[in-house]
Subunit: 226 residues, 2 copies
């Protein structure tokens, strides 16, 4: 029984890797759509996210069925709860990628990001992709310690957000309020995306049954990072 | 055993009502702190949210212990999973209230919201409070159908957000980009807060064991509302 539980759980973790890759790809496309004012690519992201939602739902359903049929012990149950929280975070990351794509589509064929800010937004996209790849590899390895560079990437995202807002606040900024609103939201989408990725990566520790009960409820986007 | 499980579960739901009231109070204070540039009240919100986090952690821990000691059947387990998701949403709502208070504190003794937008932000605060009260009463009644007026309140929040952005986009808007950034974020905090409240209220259906397995994974902030 326990053997079977662990095999099925293993399948669930494999799907977590797939789900993470789908989100990573979608965010990469969303950033490209944004920087190149590519409406077709933005539409592709919307389709990507539908697939993310479908897999997320299927995984949650399987997790419930797994628990119902196998009646896992407390430690194993905790693994399932961690997996459920990871899929929820990954779905939110997908939704944030779609928001980036939505802004790209609304402006296209014009570009949403003014020239002086392009480089900063581009780097936010690069960091978002890197942070998701680190998370994906940690899940695949079932090893939280494989998530090296995660905190540094998250700090980098925060610095880029501050740089974006700082640049917008400079006197030389001569754009419309509408642009300011959308850039503010874009910055926040990337920042929240990174926070959720960090949250997913931290929960990897619980997939292998490590980490204390105390931590599992505490781990998540860091306080103040909302 | 099942009797004992249900008694403990009942205690958990009572705590959900308490947690919701704490969040509701904090958001009310955050709005007042914002509109009246009251730094002391903003500090109070920070303390409120620490208490919210402490209760959230204690509840999650108890939910895990409950499952571990009682080995609930699938239906009962689903109730616990719903409760865990509700506490997570409520903690996010608390974090958003703190973000509102943080902006209030940063501007005080100046006011963060320019006069022409005060009324809109004030109404967002009123709707946020109403939507939390509806949610709290539905949890207390263990009855999702008691959440009447919820969707209307959520729509009203979306309209207020659009009104806020629309007003910012008007030609007569002559404020600094920094103000535009903070107002954009404020609007989003209130909107997300309402989305999470709706998500919590929808899960009330699962506290009583109703609602299909299919729905429990799907219920949550509506697509596009991110």
């Amino acid at each position: 029984m326990r053997q079977q539980f662990h095999e099925q759980l293993d399948g669930l973790v494999d799907d977590l890797v797939r789900l993470t890759l789908m989100v990573e790809t979608a965010m990469g496309r969303a950033t490209t759509a944004l920087l190149e004012a590519n409406a077709e690519l933005a539409d592709q992201v919307a389709r990507d996210i539908k697939a993310v939602s479908a897999l997320h739902e299927a995984m949650d359903q399987r997790a419930f069925e797994l628990v119902a049929s196998q009646q896992p012990v407390a430690g194993d149950l905790r693994v399932v709860v961690a997996a459920l929280r990871m899929t929820a975070d990954l779905e939110r990351m997908g939704a944030l990628a779609r928001h980036v794509a939505d802004i790209a589509r609304r402006y296209a064929p014009k570009r949403a990001v003014p020239e002086p800010l392009r480089e900063t937004v581009k780097r936010m996209g690069v960091v978002a992709e890197r942070i998701t790849a680190i998370t994906r590899r940690a899940i695949g390895a079932r090893d939280w310690t494989a998530a090296g560079g995660l905190e540094r990437a998250d700090d980098e995202m925060d610095e880029l957000l501050q740089a974006l807002y700082h640049r917008m606040l400079q006197d030389s900024w001569r754009h419309e309020t509408g642009t300011a609103i959308d850039l503010t939201l874009l910055g926040r989408y990337y920042e929240r995306y990174a926070d959720h990725a960090v949250s997913v990566a931290r929960r990897v520790a619980f997939l292998t049954g490590h980490g204390s009960l105390d931590t599992v409820s505490r781990v998540g986007p860091r306080p103040g990072a909302t």
